[in-house]
Each structure stands twice: as structure tokens, then as C-alpha cells.
Symmetry: C2
Subunit: 340 residues, 2 copies
Amino acid sequence: MGLDDRKLAVLRAIVEDYVSTQEPVGSKALVERHQLGVSPATVRNDMAVLEEEGYIRQPHTSAGRVPTDRGYRLFVDRLSRVKPLSPAERRAIERFLVGAVDLDDVVHRTVRLLAQLTRQVAVVQYPSLARSSVRHLELVPISTTRLMLVMIADTGRVEQRLVELPGPVPADDVTDLRRLVNEKLAGARLSDTPPLVQALVEEAPPELRPTMTTLATVLLETLVERHEERIALAGTANLTRGGLLDFQGSLRPILEALEEEVVLLKLIGETEPSTTRVLIGDENEFDNLRAASVVSTGYGPGATIVGGLGVLGPTRMDYPGNIATVRAVARYVGELLAQN
Amino acid sequence: MGLDDRKLAVLRAIVEDYVSTQEPVGSKALVERHQLGVSPATVRNDMAVLEEEGYIRQPHTSAGRVPTDRGYRLFVDRLSRVKPLSPAERRAIERFLVGAVDLDDVVHRTVRLLAQLTRQVAVVQYPSLARSSVRHLELVPISTTRLMLVMIADTGRVEQRLVELPGPVPADDVTDLRRLVNEKLAGARLSDTPPLVQALVEEAPPELRPTMTTLATVLLETLVERHEERIALAGTANLTRGGLLDFQGSLRPILEALEEEVVLLKLIGETEPSTTRVLIGDENEFDNLRAASVVSTGYGPGATIVGGLGVLGPTRMDYPGNIATVRAVARYVGELLAQN
DNA sequence: TCCTGGCACTCGACTGTAACGAGTGCCAGT
DNA sequence: ACTGGCACTCGTTACAGTCGAGTGCCAGGA
């Protein structure tokens, strides 16, 4: 159980070397590349202890050691300081995000930026509707029996949905509906809307009742229940770095997982306040992603969190660097959102 | 030069066998599996001719033959009939597309469906704005100096963009602007708008002039010039089938190409009327995709084409099957759009 | 008690050799 | 014009042997 300072230093050295060389690291190479002040034999003894405790393992007898998930965990928790970003990186972030005109634009730029800086797969969740407020609801007549419902959230997100009306509705009624809906819902948090929508139906003047009922259904369905979350993804080509050594030879499970929005949301969707989360190897709940790690954090204007973003890569990744980048990008995006 | 019927039959057999087995096919196996009515030796002679003409090649001496891009081309053009879809496939298409509520929804379902049916990477272009007409333009005040401009196209596409106004604009003016803009632009084809937008500015009453100018700039920028095209992608995990044999071992170039919208648009964006297009191997213009083939076609309500869709996979793909599926899906999507 | 040098051992990576067999090209015969 | 036969090619597989990185253990020394 006793892991003295030197053993920890050895573990740190193993993680760092393995991450950069991608090859099992042996005792001799270790003392050569790090100033440990002891001989290979001593390091070997330490390694034996570390292995017994489950922090490292040998791919096969007579090979060097490789960190286990548990080893990475210890490394992340206790052995690494977050790497400060280089000025070049800071500049890249600013340059990349300046000039975004749109929420869509912001999200796309962000996800590409993250992928480029970390050289991993990047994931950005659009501001969650559940954490947004309604800024405005617009009803646009498409035909006499069809409306386009457009909702604009305070985060800049815009959602639309076609509404099939039970019968023809004159233009004046649409104006009334628009007014009623906005009076009731504008400014409300999305998560608080269900009772308000209910009230809308009950308080509607009789002649608008059926239309309002339809509208209410769509509102609840689209804006609260259905695919209320959106995700942007970039950098899948980065999975092929380290030529098949990571991910034991098959990208298939990873690519499959990346196509599932639900999976991505669980991985990078914000949960706790604003801590950066690191999921190493099988710490995540998906079998397909047992060989992958995820670094994620929440972002939002000011102190509030409206969504999550992060990167996914092999367990053998540069945790300190990626943590720093993810945090920095999240902060910049937050500032950008705050300006709007 | 003389390719008699039997030689063509041999080529067809080679393509079919290679596509299904993924292994170079030899003369003996060929006569066993197809009723060619001649001996292996004869087939060998035919093969020698086919090789000389560049339709097939040997990976190495004493291996079977493999079709070249040119061979696939001949196969597609002259040796294959489009495979009729199985009833199961037809049912799958209908089941999948029924119940779509949204343009977004339609596109997402379509792209997943295509990926699933063909077991390739599927690409669907959103209805092109250039080929759409404006149904309605909405201006939503966000603050006194900011508007959200929302455009709804007749294809169901909705685009929005934040407009930073030169100065505060009262609500009444916004109403006027909305009316003016819609009077001028509603119903116009997007591609015809530039002169109309110009006229809008010139005809605007003096007090609205500066605001209208800003609005006009954004309109032109966002709706006509900038990322006016959108793309949905699915099935990248299918690239890993045939375990690295296709794509000579590295998915990297393919994944990189798939992240470039421009590339995808060039590949599946509609061009000629409504023919199905097949690009085999290096027939496409991208180095990264020399090992890939693309089957694509246009879709749209009725006879008009508003966008493209297709699949991308290894040159060794089931062309007749994929052509049939792509066409069928395009037709169904067209019908779906026509209903709205 | 802890560290070190030494030593025997393991085992994957690499090399060379040999046997195998799928597939070919060519030719003489029908 | 097709066919059977035959020699040849060459990748694949199996096996043996060598090499060397890396280990575990132990006895000796600070």
C-alpha cells in the first residue's frame, strides 16, 4: 500500500514516457530519461510494487510496463498539474472564435478548434434547452392549416417545427395565438414550461381552444421532450493517429459510439457545477468505449452552465494538456456567449 | 480490343465474386461458381486479354485477378442491371420515413436509413437554398439594437442569423421592415434575390434606410453566400467493415475528407438533372478518396431537384444494389417533400 | 534498512529455410 | 478455337534459431 514519493515519481515517469512514445517503458530507459537518482534495479523493485497495486502492467513478460486505467487515474488525480497553455494556443483560440456570427457558427468553430488543438475527437453540446429560457416564440403561417413554430432561446438557439392544425385558422387568430403564447412563455425557463403550456390551453378563448391544444402538444413534444439536445462533432480522423495501436486495432466500436447522440450526451453533457471531468477507460459506462478516455467540462455565459464540451481519445492521451485546452476553450466560449 | 460476350461475362463474374468474397479470384474458382461452359484454361486466356486492356490486374504474380477502376466502370456501364429492391427493403424505407415531423428529422432519418441499407457511409445534402424560394422572413427583436432574422424556405429549411443594428430601432419600425422585406422577397427564388435586396435598400423610406442597409448586407451574406449548404452524414463505422483491406490500411484520408463539407458537396451535390452518378476510385477529384467510390443522385419534390444524396464506400462495393437503394430512397424523400 | 550490481531467465521480434499450394502462362493436341 | 497438361512463380505458413530488451532475484555494501 505504501507508495512513497519515489514510486509515485516512477509512475509519473512511466505515464509521461508511454504517452509520448507509445511504447512499453522499461527500467533502464526510465533512469536514462528522468533524473530519478537511483539505479534501474531499484526502479524495477518499485515497478514490481506498482504492478502489484494495479497501477501498471506488462503487456507480456519481458516487455516494459504500461499504465493501467487505475494508473492514469492516480496520475491525473495526484501527479499532474494542469499544463498552462502556450501563447500560441491562446492566440489560436482567440483568432478562431472571433468573428463568429451565429450560435451555429460558434459551435462549429469551437468543435473544430478543440479537435485541432488537442488532436483528438472533439464534442460540443449545443446550449441545452432545459437550461435556456424562451426569448420569443414566432408563429408563421405556411398555409391555412399549417404553422411553422419557431422558438428562439436566450442562448441563441433556434428550434422550429411544423404544426399541422386541426382546421383552417385565419390570420388574425394566428396573431392572437402568437400574443397569448409569448405573454405566457417569454422569459420562462424551458424546464418550467409544462405547467405554463397547460395553463395556456385552459385559459385560451373557446374559439382558439382546439388550435391551442394542438400547439401545446407540439410545444411540449418538440421543445421539452424530443431531441432537445444537439451535438457537434469533429476530428474523427484523429482516431487514426497512433496507427491502430490504440483501440486494439479496430475503430469500429468507437465510430459506432460516436454516432449515438445519447452516448455523447452522457459523456460530455454537463452534470456537476463546472468541474472538469475526466473519464478514463472503462470508467465510462459504454462497452464500446472501454479503450477511450474523455475529458469534458461545462460552459456557459458567466457562472451558469448551459452545455458541455470535451474531447475523446485513447486512454494514452496527454491529460494535463487536454484538460488545460478543454478548460480554456470552455472559458472563451462562455465569454463569447455572455457578449450576446 | 475485341471483347466478345464471353470475356464480358468473365469480367462480370470477377467483379461479382471479388465484391462478395473480397479476395482475388482465380480461373478455377470462377468456372466452378459460374456456368461459363468453358475450362479454366480458356478463362485464363480471356483474363490475360482483360488484363492487357486494363480491366483487371493481379495484386502479385500467382494470385487471382482483381478488377481495376476501369473494370468496375465497364461493369457499371454495361454489365449490370439495377437490382430491384427486396420487399423488406421497401418496407424498411417506408417505415423509416413515415412519422418525420421536420425537415431536420427527414434528413436525419434519411441519412441513417441509407447508411443502414447500404452498409456504407451515407451523405445527404439539405435542400439547397439556391434552389429554394423564400416562404417567409421573420424579424424578431432581441434588444433595441439587435434583431434575429429568420428565413423560412419553401423546402422547409429554416436559417437564422443575428443582426447587429447600427442604432436602436423602435418596434413599429421592425413591423414596417418585416412587411417591406416580405413584400419584396416572399416567393422569390433565393438565387434571384440579390437585385431584389438591392431594390429594397433603394426603395426604403429614409428613416429606415440605415437599418435596411445592414439588414440587406446580412441577408446577402448569410442566405446567399455563406455556408448556404448543409450536410448530414452517417455510417462512418461502416468504413471499418472489410477490416482494413479496403482503403489500403488507413482510414485517415477518408475520415479527413468526410469532415470537409466542400468535399462532400462536390461529391453528392446535384448537378445534372436527375441521373444517378457513380464515381469510381480516382474518377473523383480528391486524392484522399482515390480508394473510394460514390453513388449519388438528386432528390426533390416532384420532378425538380433541390439537393443530393448518396453513399460512399470502397471501390469494391455492390454497385447495382447501392444504385437501386440510393434511387429508391431519393424517390421516397422526394415524395415526402412534395407532401409538405 | 535500503540500494546496487550481477546473473539467469523469459519471451517477443526478427531471420532464414523449407514445404505447400493457388494460380499463372504456354504449348501441343483435338 | 478450346482443352489438358506441365513447368514455373511467389505468397503463405510453419518451424527453428538467434538476438536483445526487460525482468526477478539475490548477495553484498552503505
